[in-house]
Amino acid sequence: MVRLITHNLLACHAKGCTTNNFPLVFKDVQLEIRESEMNPEFLRNFYPKLEWDALVKTAEQLGDTSLPKTQPPIESVDEEFLKALHHVLLEIHVEEGAMTCPNCEHRYGIVSGIPNMLLAEHEVA
């Protein structure tokens, strides 16, 4: 159940990997679209916390180009836009595959929707 909302929060946390460690890059993914109820208030609340560039880039990788390249200011956001955002953030589930760190190339495997974030002993900071 890796959704883009959580992917947008995740950086690599291996030892010494502090720059260029976000966003993690999806590899060999299997997607599943699961509809869910939209909560506009939550989205509005969460809106300023998003890393927009990373979100758009990742969504494009996964084949969704419904979002604009630059983040529109929150005042101009309408219902239609929130719907698209809701779909990208909360309805696209990555079920299988992996995420790799762009910096240290650590591979976080995803099995039945659960990413394995465990590190080996020498990678622990």
Partner: protein, 289 residues
């Protein structure tokens, strides 16, 4: 009280069978749900905003289910794959991660509106190997510093745990303070052996909400009221025992009420020669030598 954290590391202790057992146990369910509600209360989130929470050691999603009910979006992390599998089967709504909290989190700064953790951080107090990064203080430091940065300012983290000594509480709170947290320990029902619960109530920034930095008060009294504290069948057992003791609802065998009831019953059934009721019915005989 048994201490599973002394038996084996969590990812091994909570194997397939233990994970199922743990989740289907109605007493566990009840206690977990109570503690989750209490933790949410201590979290003191603004009531009108849908918050984004972190459930540390979410296990099979017993606490996550309550977060779903209350309408929060959440992310859960746990180290036991079997527990996460059960959580998947139960179809909780949060995103799940297989993660060792002692290795720290990789979340971007300031993304969570709060964090809860039910019966987890005592597991961080045991060293699994002699490697320097697996010593409890090192793991606790890593855990608290990365947690602190993942939380929004101001906000709170409420961590319920089972310390086995005051030293452990001291170790944990001192490391949390060094990581930048304010706050401290809230003890519910401090005088009750069974109902006593320790909550580490940590503040980032002002501590969230309109309230000051003051630590919330622990609940008092001997324990939670009967029925609320007990699991599903404990209530009935309790009721039956009470009835027997007081002897009011059920007539004591051999007493006058009991005899009258029996005689009435025999008459209804049409038995012959049922003695008539009189003032001597069921009366004690004089002691004779």
């Amino acid at each position: 009280m048994s201490r599973p954290e002394l038996v084996a590391p969590p990812e091994i202790y909570y194997g397939d069978s233990e994970a199922k057992k743990y989740t289907s146990n109605s007493r566990n369910q009840q206690i977990q749900s109570q503690m989750t509600h209490r933790a949410l209360e201590l979290l003191n989130l603004p009531p009108d905003q849908p918050a984004f929470l972190l459930d540390i050691g979410c296990g099979s999603g017993l606490s996550g289910e309550i977060l779903d009910e209350e309408g929060y979006e959440w992310v859960g992390v746990d180290i036991a794959p079997s527990m996460l599998e059960v959580a998947l089967e139960r179809e909780v709504e949060g995103d799940l991660f297989l993660q060792d909290i002692g290795q720290g989190f990789g979340f971007r700064p300031g993304v969570f509106d709060g964090a809860i953790s039910i019966s987890v951080i005592q597991w961080l107090l045991n060293a699994e190997s002699s490697h320097p990064t697996s010593s409890p203080p090192h793991r606790l430091t890593r855990f608290f510093t990365t947690l602190h940065s993942a939380l929004r300012s101001p906000s709170r983290a409420v961590l319920q745990f089972y310390p086995s000594s005051d030293d452990q509480i001291e170790l944990i709170t001192s490391i949390a303070q060094k990581a930048g947290f304010g706050g401290g320990v809230v003890v519910d029902y401090p005088n009750s052996k069974k109902a006593r619960k320790v909550f580490l109530c940590l503040f980032v920034g002002g501590g969230g909400g309109a309230q000051s930095r003051e630590l919330p008060k622990g609940l008092d009294g001997e324990g939670i009221e009967e029925g609320e504290a007990a699991a599903r069948f404990e209530k009935r057992r309790e009721r039956e025992r009470k009835r027997d003791k007081s002897g009011k609802r059920k007539a004591v065998k051999g007493g006058k009420d009991w005899i009258l009831k029996k005689k009435e019953l025999y008459r209804q059934r049409g038995k012959e020669d049922v003695p008539r009721d009189s003032k001597f019915t069921g009366r004690k005989r004089r002691i004779t030598f």
